[in-house]
Amino acid sequence: MENKPFIHVQNLSYAYVGEDDRPIPVLKDLSLDIREGEYVVILGHNGSGKSTFAKLLNLVIDDYTYAEGTILVDGVDVMSPDLTDEEVLDLRKNVGMVFQNPDNQLVATVVEEDVAFGPENLGIPQPELRQRVDQALATVGMSAYAHHEPHRLSGGQKQRVAIAGIIAMKPRCMIFDESTAMLDPVGRREVLETIEKLNREEGITVISITHYMDEAARADRVIVLSDGKLLLDGTPGEVFTHSDTLRKAGLDLPQCTAVAQYLITKDLPVHGEINTPEQCAEAILNAWKKM
């Protein structure tokens, strides 16, 4: 937990196997470390390789014909050919993944049974199984819906059930692959708050892939991929100062950061890190008071 990173990626290159066994290069010479407890957002244009990277981390992809470099998760070489079945299960348990479409991740016809699906697969006996399910549902604020049918829930509620299903496996890291993309603003806020709570209160490492810049602004760290290469890596404040680089990578600044930068070019003295609407309003208010 101290010095050794939870996820260590070194010179990772990855290509899918295309027609005629030709490689389709996706990731190019990627190196990065993610420490336990971090809240990392990964940004990048469509097709930049974000999902591919995520899928490599928890072994959803297991064709390593054109893979180079190393990925260590908790010290275990993910791409090693001689992983035992137990090691694979253990890796998957430790790195949980929530996907985009909430409908296509729920397996059971009753909410609580769906949440139990993961731990059931892990062979968790009663009464611990029951405790885990109840706790996971409480964490995402869905205890009242334990006996409902998933298809009658709202998108945000379904996504929170999917998250509970992962939490119940007690993972150390959770990856969210555009998990808010199909939700309305209310659903998005519910899910984001849940993600942040997991990170702050349970100490779970969060890797969140998104196209929403305001979600990136709330993270500890932002990683920008462009054409499979690492473009930028730093705190939201650091990354957002490179507005030209971001624009070239097909990304925009969060609106409030863009507003602040525009005001600065007009010689309005707005200072400090401006990534959220609150920070923006505060800075403008201060500048206005000084005038």
Binding site: R92, N104, Q105, V107, F117, P125, Q126, P150, H151, M169
Partner: protein, 280 residues
């Protein structure tokens, strides 16, 4: 598709609803066996009475139960008529009730027809009340998985079938909803599903079926990935959140069925010994 309920499950507060689904499967099978054991008027009368007793116990309105009987009315009528005309009483001194041309109807035929009707009625009502009306499809799946588990030893993929059932039950409402969405989308593009010849209407369904299939395959693919991420690796070493447990009422239910079968067998034997009324 908000009010859509799958199957015929009819929520009510009765012993039958509360019984363990495995006990209910066993009772249903025993009840069918009992209906086949019936041989004479007395045992059939007992069977008939028992079917209505079951309806009373289940607290499901008679109207609802008779709905599933109505679906079988044609088959029932057909078998009854067939029996009436087919049965020939070979007993000495048996005189046909009605006789014209090559058709002879005996009293025995009438009894047989009635017997068969009662048997079908009892089987439909019995399985309905033990299984579909009082047990949710998912509980039924659990019960079958649990009861058939010994077959896994001879390599029957019991767990896989149960998983398939569960996923089907989970996705039927989702896919129904999707069908409606696609239909509205195609209607908005001017598709017409309600007029024209049968061939034309069938053709109009193609633009619905193709996107539906495409989406179902995509769903299946994503679901498989999600299940893998959640450490699914077949039924081996799996535990279950909901553990089925037998209660006193389940043993009592099965005891009743055993007594019922005993009563029917007794009536059969007594009937044969004393020549009571008609025997099959």
């Amino acid at each position: 598709m908000k009010g859509f309920a799958f199957g015929q499950y009819y929520p009510a507060n009765s012993v039958l609803h509360r019984m363990d689904p495995r006990a209910k499967v066993i009772c249903a099978v025993a009840y069918i066996v009992a209906s086949f054991l019936c041989k004479n008027t007395f045992s059939f009368v007992l069977l008939f009475v028992s079917a209505f007793a079951l309806i009373l116990i289940s607290r499901i309105p008679l109207k609802v139960v008779l709905r599933s009987v109505r679906a079988l009315i044609f088959i029932m009528a057909f078998t009854a008529v067939l029996n009436i005309f087919w049965i020939v009483d070979t007993a000495e001194g048996a005189v046909p009730l009605v006789e014209f041309w090559i058709i002879k109807i005996y009293t025995k035929g009438l009894y047989h027809a009635a017997f068969i009707l009662v048997r079908i009625l009892a089987m439909v009502i019995g399985t309905g009340l033990f299984l579909t009306y009082t047990t949710t499809p998912i509980a039924l799946t659990d019960a079958l998985e649990s009861l058939l588990r010994p077959l896994a030893k001879i390599k029957v993929p019991v767990h896989a079938f149960a998983m398939m059932m569960t996923i089907a039950l989970r996705f039927i409402p989702t896919i129904m909803e999707e069908t409606e969405k696609i239909m509205s989308a195609q209607k908005a593009r001017g598709a017409d599903f309600t007029t024209g010849s049968l061939a034309k209407r069938a053709k109009a369904l193609i633009p619905i079926i193709i996107p539906l299939f495409a989406s179902a395959f995509r769903r299946a693919d994503e679901l498989a990935t999600a299940m893998e991420c959640r450490c699914y690796h077949g039924g081996e070493g799996r535990t279950k959140l909901r553990i089925l447990r037998y209660h006193a009422r389940d043993f009592l239910g099965m005891l009743w069925i055993i007594l019922f079968i005993a009563a029917i067998v007794t009536l059969n034997i007594l009937g044969a010994r004393f020549g009571w009324l008609y025997t099959m």
